[in-house]
Each structure stands twice: as structure tokens, then as C-alpha cells.
């Protein structure tokens, strides 16, 4: 596989033919998949906890239904 530009060393590590795999008893998972799953959990928790910016609040005038 040839890329048209120089790549950082981490890419060489990632592009090698042998992945990294972790074992817990009979359960096996690739490091890449584990990173994705952990990232999903981190992003979800962060979305729950991070404060959300509040802009102007517009109230619906009485009698007007959206």
C-alpha cells in the first residue's frame, strides 16, 4: 500500500499486518475495537455531564400554539 505523502511512525505501527489483541478468559477483543468502545462510553458520559450553552430563551406567547 503506497500513500502519496510521508506518514508519522504511529501509522506504520497501525498499518502493520498483525493487530493487538487482549484476552479476558474466553473473551477476546482487538485493541482497536476496545479503543472504539471505550471512546463511545467516554463520549456518551461526557455528553451527559458537560454543561450545555444556553442562548436566549424565547417563550411562546399565551394562546399561540406551536
Amino acid at each position: 500500500m503506497v500513500l502519496p505523502f510521508p506518514v508519522p511512525p504511529v501509522v506504520g505501527l497501525l498499518l502493520n499486518g498483525d493487530g493487538y489483541y487482549l484476552h479476558w478468559g474466553f473473551f477476546r477483543m482487538s485493541l482497536a475495537n476496545l479503543v472504539v468502545v471505550v471512546l463511545m462510553i467516554v463520549v456518551f458520559v461526557a455528553a451527559l455531564l458537560a454543561p450545555f450553552p444556553h442562548g436566549r430563551r424565547r417563550s411562546t406567547p399565551p394562546g399561540e400554539r406551536s
Partner: protein, 239 residues
Amino acid sequence: MTATGTDRAGAVDGGDPVRPGGPPTRAGGEGGWTGSLRARLTAALPPERALPDAQPAYVASWVYLFGVASLASLAVVIASGVAIALGGVRWWHTTVVGHFLNSVHLWSVELFFFWMVLHLWGKFFMAAWRGRRAATWVTGAVSFLVSVACAFTGYLSQTNLDAEWIATQAKDGINSTGAGAFWNVLDLGQMLVWHVMLLPLAVGLLVVAHVVLVRLRGVVPPIGTADDGRPSDDPAAWR
């Protein structure tokens, strides 16, 4: 012309005048099927509701961004898929541009599933099916399952070792259901057209239905809250 299409100024044919500045109308009647459909669509989803410029005040969490992130990723998936299709089945193996587009397609699919699963988690914890929104949940869940099938046919269409292994393994599961007699995962020709045409069409239609339902029903209120923002003891507001 009103939303019900009852304002008539005469037919276009037969020499009747067209209402100045407006579309042609028919004398009498309701405008036939066209007028009837227009009336129903504009009554159900007028432009102000299809493209609203305000949202309920409770829509104030980053969790609400997972849905639009999923849609945006899907747009990139489709665009990169179209770009790959320009070159045919095998060009991505032999050209740098083709391989780069394949990479964009792969990573946008990873992003699509990433955001879609987070969106599913969020909507589950919000019990987003409340208030006549069960169809919204159903179309979303079915979209997820059909997306998995679409991704599967994509893996089968790679024409490389990964595709060979996936096909020869997956055939056993699919054959065991009897479906393998008609849906042959070893047949590149069939799997490719399912991936490029049929399943994206299905995903697209489901996603459109899902988004239209969100616009029709609106974003679900917080648990225990009625449609006017007051506390509610109506079961529909709780589960």
C-alpha cells in the same frame, strides 16, 4: 391559495384564466388527487414545522447531537460510496485515489455506527417512544438493523481476503435459515448490487421516514412532563 386548496379561479385548459401570480387551478372540485395530497401534506407538516426555527427549551444537552451526527456521517458514507462507484469494482485496489476513497468510506461507516449507537443509547434512556412516538423508535431500530446488513454486503464486495473469509463463513448462518437459496453471499454480482443499490435505498427511505416522524411528533418531552411543560401524571409521559 389556502392550505386546503379550496381557492379556485378556473382551469388552465379550456381557455379559463389563470389566477394572476398563482399556479393554475381547477374550477370546482378539490384539485383531484394532487390537491388532496397537497392539502394533507401541508396540513400535517406545514413549512414552519418541517423547518422550525425554535425548539422546546428542554432540548439542551449534548446528547441531542448524536442524531444529527449520525445523519451527517451517513451523508459522507453515501458520498464516498458514490465516488468509489465512479471507478467500478476493483479500481480501489490499484490506484491511490481509489484507495483513499475506500478509506474515507470505511472511516465514515465507523463514524456512522459510532454516532448511531450513541443515539440509540440516548433515546433509550430518554424513553423517546413516549407520546405516540413508537413509530419513531421502530423506524430507527429497523434502520440500524438494515444498516448492519448494508455494511455486511459492503464487506462482501471488497474483492479481497477479508471478503472471501466473511462470505465463506457467513454463508452457513444464512443458509441455515433457507434464505441462502436466494441470497447468495458467495455471489459477488448479487451482493454488490444489493450493497450499492437496494440496501442504501432501504436505509435512505427508513431514515427519511424516521426524520419526518421526528418533525411530525417533535422531540419527546422530559419524563413526567406534559406538552405544556407542566408536571404530568399521565402514563404516556412516563413510559
